[in-house]
Symmetry: C2
Subunit: 328 residues, 2 copies
DNA sequence: GCCCACATTGTTAACGCTCACATTGGGGAC
DNA sequence: GTCCCCAATGTGAGCGTTAACAATGTGGGC
């Protein structure tokens, strides 16, 4: 930086001003400095800046399993959005989403003096940790516990599940069965709630819940059970992979979809349109979630006001060929 | 840090020594310092350390589409592996893998003084950029151009494709058709090469290539074509999603898998076991790739020797029910 | 008992940047 | 013409850490 200043014939402070887009710099000076920067291939040292300002232009993300489609998409969207705002993203994966692991991951981020932290905390066990974190950095929870008093962005699971269930009821089915996600996920809980809501609102009987765990494997197991029950004509699964497993089980038992049984999933993974048959599903808008998370973070950063900010992103029903009316 | 030093009754330098596990510190002193650290909830400032050492304990990753299963898995594995070595990972996504974008992403990482950079560069357009990067930081390419003189870790695409093709030939098929990935991906090229190799080695005819683009959609289109060709009895697709599309097309045309046509994919996505029918595929070991990449990075970091280090990770054939002998 | 080597600890100076404040030089109001 | 204000720039300090070296203490060899 000193070199740049010397070459441009100004002080290091003026170079700093140019770098930070400070207003009070003469156009001519600015150009001279920029020329010097280009000539020397100068690259400002973020670490030094972070040291003096106490904040780096980095956002830390805490997540558990970034291999799953949902988290991976969310992470990618966060990274994109952050980049647009001039922030980098560092990932802190965590084996379990319990209090100890989350705290450790957050500590690691704090050591880097990140500007803010996004915790993707979709399970029960994460809840407690979030209230006991250091308050000296903006924090946003994604897919977290709606009952906790922390800034939160979530996909509206209830609305999505309600739409899916209603879609099946509207097609003429007497009731809809549900293969759920793991019990400790808020996503599961919301989707179960939406499913029940829709059934009750329509005056339909609420069949027993079939518990799954997100994987195609468990969907397959649940599907084998459902395939043997002649009264089942409509199934809403908590995600597309469960639906894939269910579809295969139904196929193996010779039960045709959608002629005999209709199936609706959740997530709209890119392959869902190529399942057999193409899957009707619910698409969450990960980009909107990322956008909202970052906005909440930046708002805290600027106004320094924590509080109970929260935002809910409505998903969209994507209609494909896995739904039809019930057989006569 | 000064506070800690005062509380422990030592100098800040001794605190620093304890923090960095320096050998020459008396046990008693160490304990006293650690107690003080715990009591004050002190958290070392990584930015300050990065400033003075000129290197942060962060590894930068440049990747394009971290939503795809392969890149996402690799990224997660890298993050895990890096964490075990005490490194954090920051992601720099990039819209296109061309020279300008890659340079920009690398520059961003360099501004943060990352300890090393991993570029996931699976396409042709990335190649050139990599040779013209600043040499002042260790760099490893994953899935990059085998012909470039840069440290490189790749999955052995050729071996994987050869195994897949041979598996089909061994089942008795006269030849094997191939639905490939996009032409500018090295992964595609390697898989095509392995496929051709295996066919030639077996003295089988090499049918024309069916070009796809990784997506289930394009697999579906290719599948529709293949379904109409009665002579096709075995298809090797460049990834599992293509296979999914092919499976659906075949299903729609009433061509049974594996009775009439066998299909093999590549990637072993978690759902592959629940396709209809369960898909025989080739599983790359992303953890091993991540491990190797990090090793190469750390080796450069320690010995300061660049050079033509490269490592190839062999994938495994996973046999499921989508393969059988040809119809008589 | 003296001296030296070595283990342990302290002192000082960077690292590269921003912040707060000081300084300079015009231009407009009177 | 004088004064004041403000835009443009410069100066010095300090952010929290590590590196290099200095200083102190401790024990063993002779």
């Amino acid at each position: 930086m000193t070199d740049v200043a010397r070459l441009a014939g100004v002080s290091h402070q003026t170079v700093s001003r140019v770098l930070n887009g400070h207003p009070n710099v003469r156009e001519q000076t600015r150009l001279r400095v920029q020329a010097a920067i280009a000539e020397l291939g100068y690259r400002p040292n973020r670490a030094a800046r972070a040291l003096v300002t106490g904040r780096s232009q980095v956002i830390g993300v805490v997540a558990q399993n970034t291999t799953l489609y949902g988290p991976a998409s969310l992470l990618a969207a966060l990274e994109q959005t952050a980049a647009e705002e001039g922030f980098a993203v560092t990932v802190g994966s965590v084996r379990d989403l319990d209090r100890v692991s989350i705290s450790a991951a957050v500590e690691r981020h704090l050591a880097h003096r990140v500007a803010g932290i996004v915790v993707i905390a979709p399970v029960e066990s994460a809840g407690e940790a979030l209230e006991h974190l250091p308050k000296d950095v903006p924090l946003v929870t994604v897919d977290g516990d709606p009952r906790r008093p922390v800034p939160l962005v979530t996909v509206d699971q209830v609305a999505g599940a309600r739409a899916a269930t209603r879609h099946l009821l509207d097609a003429g089915h007497r009731t809809v069965w549900h293969v759920s996600g793991p019990a400790d996920w808020f996503d599961s809980a919301g989707r179960i709630e939406g499913w029940r809501d829709a059934l009750r609102a329509a005056g339909a009987e609420v069949p027993p819940l079939i518990p799954g765990d997100w994987s195609a494997a468990s969907g397959y197991r649940c599907g084998q059970m459902l395939a043997r029950m002649p009264e089942v004509t409509a199934v809403f699964t908590a995600n597309d992979h469960l639906a894939l497993g269910v579809l295969r089980a139904l196929h193996e038992h010779g039960r045709r979809v959608p002629d005999e049984i209709s199936v609706v999933g959740f997530d709209d993974v890119p392959e869902a349109a190529y399942f057999i048959p193409p899957l009707t599903t619910v698409r969450p808008d990960f980009v909107a979630v990322a956008r909202a998370s970052l906005d909440l973070l930046l708002a805290q950063l600027e106004s320094d006001r924590g509080g109970e900010l929260r935002q809910t992103i409505a998903p969209t029903l994507i209609s494909r060929q896995s739904v039809a009316g019930p057989p006569d």
